[in-house]
Amino acid sequence: MSSLIVFLVAFPLVIGALLLGVHSGKLRNVIVVLAGLIVAGASIVTAATFGNGNALFFGLPNGLTLGQGLLVVEVLMAAFVLFVSIQNRRVLAPILVLGQLAISFYLELAGKMPEIDAGRLFWFDRLSMVMVLIIGIIGTLICIHSLGYMRDYHRSSPMIKGRRTAFFCLLFVFLGSMFGLVVSNYLPLMLVFWEITTLCSFLLIGYTRTEETIGYAFDALNMNMLGGLAFSGAILLLINGNQTLDLAKLTSGPASAALLPALALLCLAGLTKAAQMPFSRWLLGAMYAPSPTSALLHSSTMVKAGVFLLLRLSPAIAGSDLGTMVAFIGMLTFLFVSLVGLTEQNTKKVLAYSTIGSLGLIVGCAGLGSPELIWVGVMIIIFHALAKGLLFLVVGTIENRFYTKDMENFDTLLSRLPLVSALALVGIAGMFIAPFGVVVAKWTAIRAFLEIPGWQGAALLVIMAFGSSFTIFYWGKLLIKVLSMKSVTEYERSIQKRISSFEWIAEIALAAGVLAVTFFLAAISEQVVGPFALATFKGTSQSFLHVEPVMLATMIVAVLFLPVLALWASRHENYNMSDFYAAGRPVTNGNVVGMALGGTRAVTLRNYYLEGVVNGQLVFRAGTTICAALLIAALAAGMVGR
């Protein structure tokens, strides 16, 4: 096991370094595909060697020690952050990174670092397994997708200087560090991986190096570094309080009051990385990165690190005021961003809001902490990683074809890119149509909320009822746009043929994954997620998924309905079987209508964005303020040990 883990972490790093030196496109394609397959294979092998599913703890393979490695990496990263900050005249990032470095040096030089238990550096359990599989498989698919995407990206925007060597290097470095993060048990080790992912995200958001994207990159850097600083602070508090730095031991049960201050800081770290309010802004800015980046870092994996940490902490903080407040931060974030999402026209941003919302749900589950809710949290992680990753990739593909991310320009997509539309439909269905996991998860969550006594239960129920209804609206809008049809020209028909096979492979594989996970919903619940939830909370054996055959049938029909229908309909040559109603005016070609002053015009239709009822900016600001206040309260509660 341990050598496999080391391989999983080290191999991508090596490949990343190697890719820096590869300038030939063809060679890079070969290396990326091969390396990706190896990574994916290794992650599957890792999962397969997991055995009976009980948590495993292990150290580095024989002969290897951490030594001062962690400190060296931290210094290097700090130096890099200082360099780019000075280059771009930023102040906040250096302060944060120096603060973090100061803590590390203080601990090291004052000799306060406790003895490392070399046999418990890593922790592998079912949650780690899920994460490793997500990173290995989805990560690989996204890397392969990038090969096609980046080619078109630079073709469609020739003004951007190509830095594809760096791009692919960063993707692999990120994969390696993400593997490290999800299997770390020793907190300082986790922190290092944590910070590497932050840096990768920073560099990828700033990929185009325009004034605007650099701004967003620094936003992301600052907020994540704040989380890193909190993480360091937590380590400092733990060491000062003579507590263990062993995550598994720390979270083996409800935490004592003495532990809560440190846990509060860890929660803060998790909240920043999971882009919960008030830190949601950075994830929206991150949408300016190339779409595979959004798919990999900002929906499928990196942001999951935040909720991963919170799920880990869940048994410790559940029941405390800290836990409840963290849960409410998550649930309110879910409510507010879903509401803001109603008013957003940029598809990637809608996906971002949806991502933040889903993460908020997981945070809510983690904070409240019960076997059912942990089950819900992990289920959402799995479905969200697949479906949202797919959606981002599809949006990326569309973006490169039509040069737009505006939802309004996606209309008649089914006629123009039928196969892409079908894939998009799988993704959308995966995110919200009844059968797929996210709704199953919501349903189970509502059931769990019913058991929570007092005003909290009622509040959570109301938040859930409204929040999940909001999502219907923006997904509905997107569906209407994707599903609309018109007669297409020969040229429009040819567009789909120019999508690279890399993109097809990745998207189809992810769509197949979404479908597979749905079909094996029960098995995943029984074999993986359920046992994990029970192990975490030491609960009695129970079944989490009350799926009856009729429900399963409904689910499967609903799952396949839209994509299959779309594929079937797109085979019709004649999309315009009869004219639509236009108050008696002449309609030609399926979308051209006679105008009042003579002449004709193609009909344009714009979705509703609830102008005048919901003010997106205002809601976002209100949510940020409320959650910031809650966060301060949560930290205060943690500090006083409640």
């Binding site: 009869s578 004219d579 109603y581 008696g584 005016r585 002449p586 309609v587």
Partner: protein, 141 residues
């Protein structure tokens, strides 16, 4: 069994009527005449309608509109020309912008005379239209 005789839905279009017949068509829906007794619904949408009720005569500009509306109605369908203008152009038949009655454009099934046509005769026309509807259905079946 055919349900057409029990559920004739109408679409009213004002071609170039003086409002007199239009208002009488609307009056058919209201309490005194209440054509809903016969299942008549004023749909306002050609795609839902069985009977096209046209008042006024054909002029240069509405000729296309009348054709469009008729084309959008699903089969079987009938046309009822209501009032003197719709039948023949009426008093305006010789005005420069009038081309004549509705039968210049569409096959008219029922002509309802009158200036303005009285609600009673409009209802009568609709009932006659139902008969034509039945015949058309039988022919197509």
């Amino acid at each position: 069994m055919s349900f057409f005789s029990k559920s004739p839905w109408i679409l009213h279009y004002d071609a170039s009527s003086c409002n007199g017949c239009d208002i009488e068509v609307l009056a058919c829906l209201t309490p005194l005449y209440d054509v809903e007794r016969f299942g008549v619904v004023n749909t306002g949408n050609p795609k839902h309608a069985d009977i096209l009720l046209i008042t006024g005569s054909v002029n240069e500009r509405n000729i296309d509109i009348i054709e469009n509306l008729y084309r959008q109605m699903p089969d079987p369908k009938v046309v009822v020309a209501v009032g003197a203008c719709a039948c023949s152009g009426g008093i305006f038949a010789r005005a420069y912008n009038i081309q004549g009655g509705i039968d210049k454009v569409l096959p008219v099934d029922v002509y309802v005379p009158g200036c303005a046509a009285r609600p009673e005769s409009i209802i009568d026309g609709v009932i006659k239209g139902i008969g034509a509807l039945e015949m058309k259905r039988k022919k197509s079946a």
